[in-house]
Amino acid sequence: MLPELFFGYYASAIVIFSLLVVTRSNPVHSVMWMLLLFFHIAGLYLFLNAEFIAAIQVIVYAGAILVLFLFVLLLLNLREELKVKKFVGSWPAGLFITAALLAIVLSAVKSFVPGPAGKYSVEFIKQETHTKALGKLLYTDYLFPFEIASLVLLVAIIGAIVLAKRKTGSK
């Protein structure tokens, strides 16, 4: 009973906060609702015994990415969101696409099959600690995809620096 209540609260809170994020007219208020949303997502991870992912969710998304969002918003100094006809005018098309997506997702729910129970049971994670279990998997079985992901991120970082760098001493 308690797990269902817990999940029910977090799932409904996440939906409500997501709606609040997209409907606020003040962008800074949107960011604050998003902060609350990220904390609830971290709560869901904790509920799945994934404590490391929960902490990283808060540190990376709430602590770094969202602060950068806020930083850009502060520099733009928008008190109210701008409504440009070019962006707002085509809402019927957007509504149609999202409705179609929702229909696809709902039709796929029927054929959902829970995956087979593997080695990583709740007891195993509790004994090994989540951080260790995840680290071992990431650096042995999934080393190659992990390295590729880090290389992609490195390319993005270098690209951002090259784009942002002021050209000095040009001819």
């Binding site: 003040n26 800074v28 404590e51 990283i56 540190i59 806020l70 930083f71 502060l74």
Partner: protein, 348 residues
Amino acid sequence: MDLLDSIFSQASVDILMKLGVIIIKIAIVIGITLLHVAYATYWERKVIGHMQVRLGPIEVGWHGFLQPIADGIKLFFKEDIIPANADKPLFYLAPVIFMVSALTSLSVLPFFDGFVIADINIGLLFLFAMSSLGAYGIILSGWASNSKYSFLGGLRSASQVISYEIAMGLSLVGVMMMAGSLNLSDIVRAQQQYPAGMFAVPQFLGFFVFIVAAFAETNRLPFDLPEAESELVAGYFTEYSGFRFALFFLGEYTAMLIMSSIAALCFLGGWTIPKFITDWFPVLLRLPAWSWVVIFLAKVYAFMFFYYWVRATLPRYRYDQLMAIGWKILIPLALFNIALTGLVKIWI
């Protein structure tokens, strides 16, 4: 009748007892911390006063000992002024976020062996998460006040905290690698395995990076640019007064206390006495358990004293210097430390 029976059954009484113990622990920790914070301000004024050949507070009580209490009463009864064009909800929320994030961090600190409110496996990561939440208090207070001084203070703080969070996280990776755990109690116990009894010796590079990053994270001199009084009046809390100002003040000192505690736990051996000292004086091994908290507090106070000492000694850095130190010196140094620790761990 059944419902009452089930409520008063043995299992639920046990749960209530556990809850009660946790709540009492929380009350003790917060009460003692806030008292410490109040006297940290008194101690700071005394230490800096004597370093600058002044007396510091001396009028209220014996050697000014009641000064922090007088200050607290004064702040509590001051008028609470809110700027007319402020964003009210965020203006109210900002000091609360700042204070709550500082107080929540206390829940994972082990003050001595066995005394910790929440003994979680990711203690160190939890502290990082809470310190990044504290940055929102500062940024929001800067934005919501609708004043240019607050705004500039908030912007400076945002970029400073983001930059130094990276250096701070990386500086502690060496400690995590040597301890093999993120649980703060395990990190303290792991330090007893090493001859020096503290990670500050093998992790001296990490310790150096941590100290500098800790000063920047808590917006203290020589990196107190977000509240540089000669340029920005008071920085992000310029528009705050009365008790809301007191919340920022308390939050800043609590954050300092937490940084000092992390330094004591991760680098200075927490509540333990280094093994080479107990080998010389075996009497120290027979100390009662309550005295461990005294050892822990002595280490925390030593680090706090260092905060005051630096404040009385060094001038403020320029903003570009602050960024250059963070990105060009501290982060490469911390990365080098991680590589070095890894290589030593493979070879030995």
